[in-house]
Subunit: 417 residues, 2 copies
Amino acid sequence: MTLEGQIVAQLKQAREASHSLALCPTERKNAALWSLAKALRANAGAILEANRKDLEVAKTSGRAGAFLERLALNDARIAAMAKSVEEVAALPDPVGEVIERFSRPNGLQIQKVRVPLGVIAIIYESRPNVTIDAGVLTFKSGSAAVLRGGKEALAANTLLAKMLARSLEESGINPAAVQFVDTPDREAIQILKRHPEAIDLIIPRGGGSLKDALAGSAVPVLPHFDGLCHTYVDRDADLKMAEEICFNAKVSRPSVCNAMENMLVHRQIAAKFLPAMAKRFLAAGVELRGDEVACSLVPGIKQATVEDWDTEYLELVLSVKIVDSIEDAIAFIRQHGSALADAIVTQDKEAAARFEREVDSATVYVNASTRFTDGFEFGFGAETGISTNRLHARGPMGLRELTTYKYLVRGAGQIRS
Amino acid sequence: MTLEGQIVAQLKQAREASHSLALCPTERKNAALWSLAKALRANAGAILEANRKDLEVAKTSGRAGAFLERLALNDARIAAMAKSVEEVAALPDPVGEVIERFSRPNGLQIQKVRVPLGVIAIIYESRPNVTIDAGVLTFKSGSAAVLRGGKEALAANTLLAKMLARSLEESGINPAAVQFVDTPDREAIQILKRHPEAIDLIIPRGGGSLKDALAGSAVPVLPHFDGLCHTYVDRDADLKMAEEICFNAKVSRPSVCNAMENMLVHRQIAAKFLPAMAKRFLAAGVELRGDEVACSLVPGIKQATVEDWDTEYLELVLSVKIVDSIEDAIAFIRQHGSALADAIVTQDKEAAARFEREVDSATVYVNASTRFTDGFEFGFGAETGISTNRLHARGPMGLRELTTYKYLVRGAGQIRS
């Protein structure tokens, strides 16, 4: 059978299974999740063994450092995986939620109720825990999952996907509701994107090459891509607060999409704020790249190039720009930002309100770190991802954002005149 | 300048204008709408003159009948257009609406607020009033509009789009927020779909050829396409009610997407229900195509072909299928329907509940006509369209469905640990 034939057969199974999963009672879904958590703990040895194979292959092919670190599992990581499955079991089921209820003058009673999307394909990179995270969240949201993980985690992913399917089966749910696409061939992505009749949504969790691979997709894509985040330190900022927020936004986890990449500082407080801030950044190993004024204020800041303002570093590098006004800060963010998370630090209520109104980002902060752009931090109880889309779902996503809705209309014989 | 160059220049203007329009106060938007309504009434003569030109060209190129009827304007239609503009002015502004408010244990205050989508391109066919309807709704929703109407209405569309832009200008709003793509060249659609950096959403209002033209669009598409709707007359239906509902669903306006195309009848009541129902349909000029049982029960029913069950007739033709059970009815709807609007007629509460649960259509009816699937009938106050999408918006769309949201997060120095 061709690769396309194989994958299409999987997609057909997923579509078929999605119909009964959509009607599956909450209790049965949760039972499957509890049984999965148990199985993960009981089979930690086998999971680690599969992971060891993946690590060997990766090392042989020259992978090193942070890559291997992300790929590696250990007892603590498996325990964390099991715990996160239990947390998803404890979350409210989004399916069936009545979003709105209204009636019409002609007596029609209308309810807008949440229903599963259908079949969701998730394409992700090498961390094997995403197989469980993404699979479990999609399952709880009532949709069939088509999982396509990075080839470097193939052995562990295959095992984990099997365990997930087995847990469904044990609870009387069609295990075909979880499909794992186990070919390392990147052509698989091209095949998935050609089948809108079988897949309702593709969620890509990854970088630029995944974005390119999905260009022209016939299936709708909910991108989880770039984060080029700003913090603007206003003229009327509490400078100590600003220092804590900026330091946290850059340093607490530089590799993630909600980390700060560009820091904007109002000219009038730059001389007061920047030297101490820069000293702290430099001491933490952050490379600073600034405009002329920033360089003149602080030794140890390199001159930024024009590319720097548009670069998502995802490491300990920060661009620093001195601006003349809040207008300039807002215009700069519009030009260079990715509209994911941007912050102002200010004590001036008018400036805060203006920033909130005029900065059109998924999450706009006043006096807080951009690092809070995250499903858990927003209280959604799950890390479904952070949408960089404007349609359907924007910013941190919870289970609800993985669903759609339908209208139930109850009448007593109404006809339209 | 090339066609692509011209259109890209328009898109840039629209994008630029969208930023200020997003911040435009409700009062100013409404003032522009009131002034447009006035201008439409005052310039009815010029609009009719432009429409006359369009009609002449259409006649010369061999158009006739219903096509010309849809294209033609008259005083009453212009008055209706002006009135609908005033109705949109009276609708609540969706922009700025607080959808949700919550706080986190760390003290962060989070608001989810509605904001405009940005730039919306609307591609539609020949009725010139859509230029006003679609333009005005997009404008009120705070997004810049890129309008692309059918070439047969070019003269009237051009004039109407100019009047809309002038009304914006008179109210101090950048008229570039309304762009009309005035080339008859169908290549324009290919150009629009290549520019996701400039367009946030394409809404196509049309049929199959438009669907094909938009395949592979790099810009997200919110389709308004097929409607293959069913009514299932259950064993426990009130047969008089069923007759009224089915007649209304088929006959009241057969050319629209929420009209019934397939009627399913439970075997146990078929002999009682079908003869009278068929007689009424036949008297109204409806051609009936049935399965074997239906043909055996009623003279005058033609044998249906396999294609009939999957055909959206959009005219006075109806397929009739006898089913053995509600299970069969639901399975038939899943297989043949377009998941837009499907109805059950029954007095059996369990059957009704089952139909509501298992039929996954945008609008699911119990004891009412599918013809209610419509923005006005749902009380949304506007006819933004009926989405056949599962993502972002499903079923009847109002102004809110033309928007997105952002999160405002207010802190007092919170950082993430």
